[in-house]
Amino acid sequence: MNAIEATGLGKRYRRAWALAECDITVPAGQVVALVGPNGAGKTTLLHLLAGLLTPTTGTAGLLEGLRPGSDEARDAVALVAQDAPVYRRMSVRDTLRAARGLNGRWDQQYAEARLDSLRIPMRSQAGKLSGGQRAQLALTLALARHPSLLLLDEPLAALDPLARREVLGTLMTTVLEEGISVVFSSHVLADLENVSTYLIVMGQGRVLLAGRVDGLLDSHRMLTGPANEADEIAERITVIGCTRAGRQAHVLARCQVPPDGWQAKEVTMEQLAIAYLDAGSGRLTPGFPALGIPQAAEAGQ
C-alpha cells in the first residue's frame, strides 16, 4: 500500500506556482524527510495532502487512494501545522475535550497518559505553555487520533536543541511502535538524518529528488579526482554537483563505480540534499557547479 500517491500535483496562487508538477509515490510505513528551503512548497504540499487546500492541477491519493479532505482521509490523516496551532485560550484539559468533539477516533486515555509523562499539567492554559510543551501538546492531539499517516510541518522549527531532541525522540518511539507513516518537513536536515527512511527534496515548488534513503545513498557517490578531467566525467555520468579545490575536483554524481583515476566515497543525506537543492535552484550550470559541495561540507561539519 502507498501512503501517498501524487500525480502532476500543482497549486497556483494568482500567477505564481507554489507547487508544480509534483509526482511522488511514498510506500506506507516510511518516515519521510521533506526537505527544502523556505518557499520550496513543502507547506503547500502538506496542506494539499491534509485537505486544507485544493490543487490547481493533478491528483492525490492517500493510504488506499483516499482523496485528501474526504471523510475517510480526515479520520486517517493527522496534520501538525507549523507553529503547532492549538486553542490558545483553552486549558490543556479543554483542548483535549475539544479534540474529542472534533474527532470520532480519539483516545482520551492515551492523550492523558502522554501529557502526564511529559509533565504537561492539565490546568495550564495552552497559549502559555513553552514552545516545546506546545509542540508536544499538538503532537499529542495528533497521535491520540491514532492516524495512519502523520504530516508534520516544521514541528521542530521553534524549539531549542534540547527540546528538539526530546520531541523527536518521543515522536519516533511512537511512530515505530504504531507503524505510522510520517512526513516530516524541515529546512534543517540534521534533525532528520538519523530517523528518516525516505527523502523528498523540494526547491522552488518542485520535487527535485524523491526516493528511499538507502537506495539514494547507494546510487550516489562523492568522487574525487583531477580537476581537468571533471568536464569529461560529466559527459559520461550524471553529475549533480561539482567543486574544484586547486587541482582536485569533488564531484557528486549518480554512479556506483568510480571512473578510472577517481576515488569514490559514500555520500551523506545532507550532501545529497544540498547538491540537489543547488542544482535545482538554477545557480549551477549543468555539470559544472561552483557552489554545490563546499556548502554541504561546511554544513556537515
Binding site: L52, T54, D71, R74, A81, Y87, R88, G101, N103, A138
Partner: protein, 291 residues
C-alpha cells in the same frame, strides 16, 4: 454454506456531544455579549413601560379625555419621558442588528483563519462545514431568542406609549420605521445581519476588514430595502391609500420578517454547502489537468 460478509468498520461517530461543548466553549464570549446587550435594552424598555404605567395610574386617561385630574402635570410629564426614552431606544434597536452582524457574525470564521487555528480544527475528523453548521445553528438560536424578547418588549412598550395619542394608530407605535425595531422584524433583521457578517468573514478571512465589510454590506442592504423594496409592500401601499382603518402592523411584519428570514436561510445554506461543493469540484477539475 455460510456466507460471511465483512462489514466495513463504521465511521467513528462525530459530531458528538463534545462537539456541542466545543461550539459552546468557543462562542460563549460572543453569547455573553449578546446577553448583555439584550439585558441592557430590555432593562431600558421595562423602565419606559413602568413610566407609562405610572402615568396611567396617575389618571392620564381622564386628564386627556375630560381634562380633569389631580396629577395631570406629572402624568403628562411621565408619559413624555417614556416616549422620549422609547424614541431613543428605537434608534438603538435599528442599529442593534448591525452590531450583531459586525461583532458577532464577521469574526466567527475570520478570527479562526487569522489565528491559524483552522490548520488544526479544519483537518480533524469533523468536517469544517459540520462545525460551521452547528455554530451557526447555535448562534442563530441565541440571536433570535434574545432579539425576540427585546422585540416583544418593544411592541408592548410602544403600545403603552400611545396611551395619550388621539387616533387609533396615529402616533408613535405605528410608523414603518418603528416597525423594524419590533417583533418579528427585529429578530429577523438580527438573524440576517448575523449570517451576512459570517459570510463576510468567510470570504475575507481577516477580522477587521470583515467587520467593515459586514457594516457596509448591511447598511447597503438596509438602504436598498427602504428605498426600493418597502414602497412595494402591499400593507403600506394600502395604508397610504386609506388613511384610516386597518392597522397594517402585522401585514408589514409578516412581509418584512418573511423575506429577511428567507434570505438568512439562503445565506446559511450557501455558507455551509458551497465550500464542500467547491472542494470536490476543484479536485475534479485539477484531475483533468494530469497529462
Amino acid at each position: 454454506m455460510t456466507v460471511v460478509t465483512l462489514a466495513t468498520p463504521a465511521r467513528p461517530k462525530v459530531p458528538n456531544r463534545w462537539t456541542a461543548w466545543l461550539i459552546w466553549r468557543q462562542q460563549r464570549g460572543t453569547f455573553t455579549g449578546f446577553a448583555l446587550l439584550a439585558s441592557v435594552l430590555s432593562g431600558l424598555l421595562v423602565t419606559a413601560v413602568l413610566k407609562a404605567e405610572n402615568a396611567d395610574a396617575l389618571g392620564l386617561h381622564a386628564c386627556l379625555t375630560s381634562g380633569t385630574g389631580a396629577h395631570c402635570t406629572s402624568a403628562a410629564s411621565l408619559l413624555a419621558q417614556a416616549q422620549e426614552q422609547l424614541r431613543n431606544l428605537k434608534v438603538a434597536l435599528l442599529v442593534v442588528p448591525a452590531v450583531i452582524g459586525v461583532f458577532g457574525g464577521a469574526p466567527l470564521v475570520a478570527r479562526e483563519h487569522e489565528t491559524g487555528i483552522t490548520r488544526y480544527s479544519w483537518t480533524q475528523g469533523l468536517r469544517p462545514e459540520q462545525w460551521l453548521a452547528g455554530t451557526l445553528l447555535f448562534g442563530s438560536l441565541v440571536v433570535v431568542t434574545f432579539m425576540t424578547i427585546v422585540g416583544i418588549l418593544f411592541n408592548w412598550a410602544s403600545g403603552l406609549a400611545d396611551l395619550g395619542s388621539g387616533g387609533p394608530w396615529s402616533s408613535f407605535a405605528v410608523t414603518p420605521t418603528t416597525f423594524d425595531a419590533q417583533f418579528p422584524a427585529l429578530p429577523a433583521w438580527s438573524l440576517f445581519a448575523y449570517l451576512l457578517g459570517t459570510g463576510c468573514g468567510m470570504a475575507i478571512r481577516r477580522t477587521v476588514p470583515a467587520m467593515s465589510a459586514a457594516l457596509v454590506g448591511y447598511g447597503a442592504i438596509v438602504y436598498l430595502a427602504i428605498e426600493y423594496l418597502r414602497p412595494h409592500y402591499a400593507a403600506l401601499v394600502f395604508w397610504e391609500q386609506i388613511s384610516s382603518g386597518v392597522n397594517p402592523f402585522w401585514q408589514y411584519q409578516i412581509i418584512q420578517a418573511g423575506w429577511l428570514t428567507l434570505a438568512a436561510v439562503v445565506i446559511a445554506f450557501v455558507l455551509v454547502i458551497s465550500p464542500r461543493l467547491y472542494r470536490a469540484s476543484a479536485w475534479k477539475r485539477a484531475g483533468r489537468h494530469v497529462k
